[in-house]
C-alpha cells in the first residue's frame, strides 16, 4: 500500500487531551470527533487537513488517556499515517486495533511542515518529495501485522463469533 500527503508537524508529548479535548467525549461519532481534532493546540487543523495528509511528531505521541476517540478523530480527518519518534503505549495499541497506520522514525527532525511525503508500507520506505530524501522504517512484527492484515482486532473477534 502507498499513500501520499502533506506534512502537519507536531512536537513531543502530544497528549490525548491535545488530540481531542475531554469535553467532546460525550459522542462516539467519527465525523464529530474529527471536527474537534487538535482544536485546543491547532484550531485550524480540522478545517484545513486534506485526505491523505500525514502527521509528523516527536517523542511519546498520544500519551495520556486511553480514549480511542483520539486515534478515531485523527483517522476521521482522513489522515493516512502518523510518523513519530515514539508512541505512547495505549495510543499505539488503539491505532493498531482500529487500523490507523503508525510509523516510528528517528529522523523526523529532517521533515518540515508542509512538505509532501510518500509512504510505501510494503517496502517500509518514506520518500520526502520536496527534499528527495528517503527513509527506511521498521515494519510491524508478524503478530501485529496479522491483526492489521485481518482488518483490525474486531475482524479477529468476528471469527470467534462465527465459530460459536
Amino acid at each position: 500500500m502507498k499513500v501520499k500527503g502533506k506534512v502537519w508537524k507536531f512536537g513531543d508529548h502530544i497528549n490525548t487531551d491535545d488530540i481531542i479535548a475531554a469535553r467532546y467525549l460525550n459522542t462516539t461519532d467519527e465525523k464529530e470527533l474529527a471536527s474537534h481534532c487538535f482544536e485546543v493546540i491547532r484550531p485550524e487543523f480540522s478545517k484545513n487537513v486534506k485526505k491523505g495528509d500525514i502527521i509528523v511528531a516527536g517523542e511519546n505521541f498520544g500519551c495520556g488517556s486511553s480514549r480511542e476517540h483520539a486515534p478515531i478523530s485523527i483517522k476521521g480527518c482522513g489522515v493516512s499515517a502518523v510518523i513519530a519518534k515514539s508512541f505512547a503505549r495505549i495510543f499505539f495499541r488503539n491505532s493498531i486495533n482500529i487500523g490507523l497506520p503508525l510509523i516510528e522514525l528517528k529522523e523526523v527532525d529532517e521533515i518540515e511542515e508542509g512538505e509532501e511525503l510518500e509512504i510505501d508500507f510494503d517496502e517500509g520506505i518514506i520518500k520526502n518529495l520536496n527534499t528527495g530524501k528517503t527513509y527506511k522504517f521498521q515494519k510491524y512484527p508478524e503478530f501485529l501485522q496479522n491483526i492489521i492484515n485481518s482488518g483490525g482486532l474486531m475482524s479477529l473477534a468476528r471469527k470467534t463469533v462465527e465459530k460459536k
Partner: protein
C-alpha cells in the same frame, strides 16, 4: 521473571515469557466506563456477537460525566446501562457508583495475581494489590468481552527502590510525582514500574493506590507492588480472607531492566506545574502562585485517608475568600465514612463544597470547570493543557495536605504554613 511477567505467563498458560514477545492472555476482569464503554459496545454489536464470554468478569462504571451533565452523556450512560441489563453484566447505578479505580478494589473485585484490563488509562491503579493491571482501548475491551482474551507485549520491568525516612506531609502522591519528574512522562513507556524498598513495605494501601494510579503518567504499562502483610490486612478489612501466593515476587535482581534508587529523605511535598505531571518540584518553589480553585478527590487521591489528611489541615480554618474548594469523595463508602468521622462537617464549616463521587473536574467534564486564565491546584493526576477547562487555564498537581493548605492561604502553600 518479575512479578508482572509471572502474571502474564500464568495467564497465557506458559512456564515463562520473555520481554518484547507478543502473547495472548486470558483476563480476569474487564472494565469500561461511560466514555469508553459505548465505543466498545458499538464494536461488540458490529461483529454480531450475541454473548459476552463471562458476565461476572465484566464491570461497567458510569463515573466520568455522572450524574449526567447533559443529554449526550445521558445517552452514553443509557447505552452501557441497557447493555448490562441485556447481558447480565455488573453496572453501578447512581447511588452505588463511585470513581472506578477506588470502587473496584473496595468491591473486592481486584485481587493479587489477577490480570485486569480496563478501557481507562488509570486502570494501572490495581497494581497496588499485586494485580497486573493495565489501561487499554475500547476495541480491546470489545474483543476481550467476546473472547475473554487480549494481546500483550511482554514488558521489561524497572525497579524503583525507595529508602530513607519520609518527611512530614510526604506520601504516595509526592513519591510518584517526584519519580515522574525524575524519569519524565515517557520514562517508563511500555514498561512495568515495580515499586519496592523499605519505604514501600511500610506504605499504607491508599498511598500504594496513588502511586500505581500514576504509573501511566510516566508512560508505564503497569505499576505494581509485591503483595505483602499490608495487602493482606487490606483484603481482610474489605471482607476477603486471601492467602497471598508466595510466588508473587520477582525472582532475581537480574530480571529487572533497570534499578532506580530514591532517597526519600530528600523529598519535600511535591507540586507538578502546568502542563506536564513531570514538572514536579518542592512545594516551596511555587509559593507565590495564586489560585482560584482547589479540587480534592479523583481516582488518585479521593480515598478516606486522603480526606482525613485534608480535613486535618482544614479543621477550624476558613477557605480563602477568593478560592473555591471542591471535595469529591471517590465512592459512596468513602463519603459515608467521611460523614461518620465528622470530616464532611469540617469541610462544610471551612467553606468547601462536597460533590457526589465523579471524575468530574479532573478531566474538565463538569462540577468545577475552569475559565480562561484561572489556576487550580488539584489532587488529580493530569495537568495537560485545557485538562480542567479552558485551554488557557492552569492546573497544579499535589497531595491532599498541600491542596488543603493552599485553599486556606489562597496561594500554593506548604501545609506547615497553616
Amino acid at each position: 521473571m518479575t512479578i508482572s511477567q509471572k502474571i502474564l505467563a500464568k495467564h497465557c498458560g506458559r512456564e515463562e515469557v520473555f520481554p518484547s514477545e507478543y502473547v495472548e492472555c486470558s483476563v480476569d476482569l474487564i472494565l469500561a466506563n461511560d466514555i469508553t464503554g459505548p465505543l466498545a459496545i458499538e464494536e461488540f454489536e458490529k461483529v454480531g456477537a450475541e454473548n459476552v464470554f463471562e458476565p461476572s468478569k465484566i464491570v461497567l462504571v458510569p463515573d466520568h460525566f455522572t450524574p449526567c451533565k447533559d443529554i449526550k452523556s445521558a445517552e452514553l450512560v443509557k447505552k452501557i446501562r441497557d447493555f448490562s441489563k441485556k447481558y447480565g453484566v455488573k453496572f453501578y447505578e447512581i447511588g452505588s457508583v463511585g470513581i472506578e479505580h477506588a470502587l473496584l478494589p473496595e468491591e473486592g473485585l481486584t485481587l493479587p495475581g489477577q490480570l485486569i484490563i480496563g478501557a481507562d488509562s488509570h486502570t494501572c491503579t490495581y497494581g497496588a494489590v499485586g494485580a497486573f493491571s493495565t489501561g487499554v482501548g475500547s476495541t480491546d475491551v470489545a474483543y476481550a468481552i467476546i473472547t475473554g482474551k487480549l494481546w500483550f507485549k511482554v514488558p521489561e520491568t524497572i525497579k524503583f527502590y525507595y529508602y530513607g525516612k519520609l518527611n512530614d506531609y510526604v506520601g504516595g502522591k509526592d513519591l510518584i510525582i517526584y519519580t515522574i519528574g525524575l524519569i519524565g512522562v515517557d520514562g517508563a513507556n511500555y514498561k512495568s514500574m515495580e515499586f519496592t524498598g523499605p519505604v514501600i513495605e511500610n506504605l499504607p494501601i491508599d498511598d500504594r493506590f496513588t502511586m500505581c494510579n500514576m504509573a501511566i503518567e510516566a508512560g508505564g504499562k503497569n505499576g505494581i507492588i509485591k503483595p505483602d502483610r499490608i495487602t493482606e490486612e487490606y483484603l481482610k478489612e474489605i471482607g476477603l480472607d486471601i492467602k497471598i501466593d508466595e510466588n508473587l515476587k520477582t525472582d532475581s535482581e537480574n530480571d529487572y531492566e533497570k534499578i532506580i534508587e530514591i532517597d526519600v529523605s530528600k523529598i519535600e511535598p511535591q507540586v507538578s506545574a502546568p502542563h506536564l505531571p513531570s514538572n514536579s518540584k518542592s512545594v516551596r518553589e511555587y509559593s507565590n502562585v495564586k489560585i482560584d480553585q482547589v479540587v480534592i478527590g479523583s481516582c488518585t487521591n479521593g480515598r478516606i485517608s486522603d480526606l482525613r489528611k485534608a480535613a486535618k489541615i482544614l479543621k477550624g480554618k476558613k477557605i480563602h475568600p477568593e478560592v473555591r474548594c471542591i471535595i469529591i469523595p471517590a465512592t459512596q463508602k468513602v463519603y459515608k465514612q467521611a460523614l461518620k468521622e465528622g470530616l464532611i462537617d469540617i469541610f462544610i464549616e471551612s467553606g468547601c463544597v462536597i460533590s457526589p463521587p465523579t471524575c468530574g473536574p479532573c478531566l474538565g467534564g463538569h462540577m468545577g470547570v475552569l475559565a480562561k486564565g484561572e489556576v487550580a491546584i488539584a489532587t488529580t493526576n493530569r495537568n495537560f493543557i485545557g485538562r480542567m477547562g479552558h485551554p488557557e487555564s492552569y492546573v497544579y498537581l499535589s497531595n491532599p495536605e498541600v491542596a488543603a493548605a493552599s485553599a486556606v492561604k489562597g496561594k500554593i502553600s506548604h501545609p506547615e504554613e497553616v
